[in-house]
């Protein structure tokens, strides 16, 4: 579940883990790819994606129960 980090791009700078208001990345360490400790607590605020300094290192996946209903 969200977010998803691309290991090959992430530099382990720790910004996402530091900024996440819900502490989804609890237990992460600097210089390592952050751990997604509590994926189900992500509120999809997008802060981690917007603040990550590396393009496309981190993205969010919309959980299927949250797919918009439209016609």
């Amino acid at each position: 579940m969200p977010p998803i980090i691309d290991d090959s791009k992430c530099t382990g700078c720790g910004v996402c883990a530091e900024h996440c208001p819900q502490d989804v990345f609890f237990g992460s360490e600097i210089k390592k790819t952050p751990v997604i400790a509590f994926p189900e607590e992500c509120w999809h605020c997008y802060a981690c994606v917007l603040d990550c300094p590396v393009p496309e290192a981190i993205r969010l996946r919309t959980p299927v129960p949250m797919m918009l209903s439209y016609r």
Binding site: E40, E41, P65, L68
Partner: protein
């Protein structure tokens, strides 16, 4: 658990919009201001993803008669929002809005659109437009930076969970570090609660899921729970609030959408617009947020937000504002799934937002306890309310702190020992339910026994069951680390609030708004201008009816 001590003149609990504004003002006036924030103030709280509407009155735009503006505003969703707060407070609020707008602008939050103040959305065609569009995407990082510049100390990852008070006066608070095994004791001359609303008391659109909520899962009514335990008065805890937004992707922001709410036969469900109108939106759900649920229950739904027929320019305008309104992920989802809003109406639904209660304050932001203030969503929703009263409370708390001192009594130590005991007990418990399990149980009791329908028998049964849950949770809830410990304390706070909802619902023997008592279907006119107060006296809840403040 190790204990850390932090001293402050003014402690702001919660680094949301209200808490940061209060701290900025207090620091500016010379107080030592500390913000304790359970997440990270940069993006925390309801305003953390951004907002795009600022309720504000500018005489040059709206005319010299502020009361005419207020009258118009009270026909929109603000009527429920400000219910029971009194006209004086509303006037103090509205009169101050333009000052804050100018201040925010000077701090770097763009309050103008294409060089001008621009009002749109939340409006009836032909009436005043009361909400200014502003670019709030970065409001939290900007306010955080401002607070640091002014010398505010921001302590992130500390969840405050109880006040230090003698029942009459407050002189600090206790928090837990949600990362390290630490308890943080704040010795403060005054305390401002800016902990936001309550989001997980009632079920989300996806049962058992805590993250699919219109606000944020870390807003758990901590402020009102600790204010109550410290002896402060709360009001109208039984009143329920609802919100409306896209179905399944629960999110605030309904008034940023442009289009017409239509039924499956393409008939507009409201009388206000028949084609997409960028300056107004469709205000129908502000008149009745329950309308989507009513349509569903009557077999007349689903209801869609329908943007078909709008110009590309209007679509670009809406897509420009939705990210400011904290809806970036929703737009990304639409893009990823190829949902073209020009072709596809999006279904909307009613969200159950839970208890509409609030902490009792006066126009100065003071609660019924000396030295304790409350701001923002602890009273009413909105960026404008949070920022104006944050500012006012920061000022008054600083004044109060000048004449206050902190007793170095035994009481503080006793409280620390008691709380430390509770936290360590929870950390030591094994094989019990985690916070999520307890939260699911709480939501099921709230929605089944104190939800859309209420009777004396249901309320008695639910309250009995809730008390059992509380006992069981205290005895057995588990937390494997400090983060889960914080979540556990949040659930315990929500159980406390749930109990108050039951007690107040029992006492309100009438039907009013969304408080539907099947056994008391009448709306009692004798309660029209009354607020329902609850407070703790000698460890027991005591309720009272009081005339609404003038």
């Amino acid at each position: 658990m190790e204990i850390e001590h932090i001293k402050a003149d003014v402690l702001c609990v919660g680094g949301g919009i209200g808490g940061l504004m209060a701290a900025i003002r207090a620091s500016e006036l010379g107080a030592k201001a500390v913000v304790a924030e359970k997440g990270n103030a940069l993006h925390s709280g309801k305003g953390g993803g951004g907002c795009d509407h600022y309720l504000s009155y500018i005489p040059e735009i709206h005319g010299p008669d502020m009361d005419a503006f207020i009258e118009e505003m009270l026909q929109t969703q603000q009527r429920h929002n400000f219910e029971g707060l009194g006209m004086n407070r509303i006037r103090v609020h509205i009169a101050k809005t333009f000052d804050i707008v100018k201040m925010w602008e000077s701090w770097g939050i763009p309050m103008k659109y294409r060089g001008e103040y621009h009002y749109a959305g939340h409006a009836f065609p032909g009436g005043f437009r009361c909400l200014m569009k502003y670019e709030g995407r970065n409001q939290k990082p900007i306010l955080t930076k401002k607070a640091l510049e002014k010398g505010v100390e921001i302590v992130n990852r500390v969840m405050v969970f109880d006040l230090v008070s003698d029942g009459n006066k407050v002189y600090g608070a206790i928090g837990l570090n949600t990362r390290d095994e630490k308890i943080v004791v704040f010795e403060a001359k005054s305390v401002i609660l800016g902990t936001g609303g309550i989001s997980r008391l009632y079920p989300s659109p996806t049962p058992g899921w805590f993250n699919n909520i219109a606000t944020r899962l870390s807003l758990t009514g901590d402020g009102r729970a600790m204010a109550y335990r410290a002896g402060a008065e709360l009001q109208n805890m039984e009143m329920r609030i609802q919100h409306a937004g896209p179905k399944y992707y629960a999110r605030f922001g309904q008034a940023t959408w442009i289009g017409v709410f239509r039924d499956p036969q393409d008939r507009p469900i409201g009388p206000f617009v028949t084609k997409p109108e960028r300056l107004y939106g469709d205000i129908t759900p502000e008149v009745n947020k329950n309308i989507f649920l009513e349509y569903a229950q009557a077999g007349k739904g689903p209801v869609y937000m329908d943007g078909r027929g709008m110009s590309q320019e209007d679509l670009d305008y809406m897509m420009y504002w939705l990210p400011h309104e904290g809806n970036t992920p929703l737009i990304e989802h639409m893009k990823a799934d190829g949902i073209d809003y020009l072709k596809h109406p999006v279904e909307f639904m009613t969200y159950d937002q839970g208890s509409g209660g609030r902490i009792v304050t006066n126009e100065e932001g003071e609660t019924s306890i000396n030295g304790l203030y409350a701001v923002g969503d602890e009273l009413a929703n909105g960026v404008s309310n949070a920022s104006v009263f944050g500012w006012i409370s920061g000022e008054n708390a600083t004044l109060y702190a000048k004449g206050a001192n902190i007793p170095d009594g035994k009481e503080i130590q006793d409280l620390i020992d008691e709380k430390k005991g509770l936290l360590e007990k929870i950390r030591g418990q094994k094989n019990g339910p985690d916070w999520k399990e307890v939260n699911v149980a709480l939501q099921q009791i709230m929605s089944d026994y104190s939800g859309a329908l209420r009777t004396e028998a249901l309320l008695d049964t639910g309250l009995f069951h809730l008390k059992r849950l509380k006992q069981k949770a205290l005895e057995s809830i588990i937390a494997g680390n400090q983060h889960e410990l914080g979540r556990s304390i949040e659930v315990l706070n929500m159980i406390d609030i749930g109990e108050l909802v039951f007690i107040c619902s029992k006492e309100r023997k009438e039907t009013r708004g969304l408080h539907i008592r099947r056994d008391y279907p009448l709306t009692n006119p004798r309660l029209n201008n009354k607020v329902h107060i609850i407070k703790e006296v000698d460890h027991r809840p005591v309720t009272e009816w009081r005339p609404t403040q003038k």
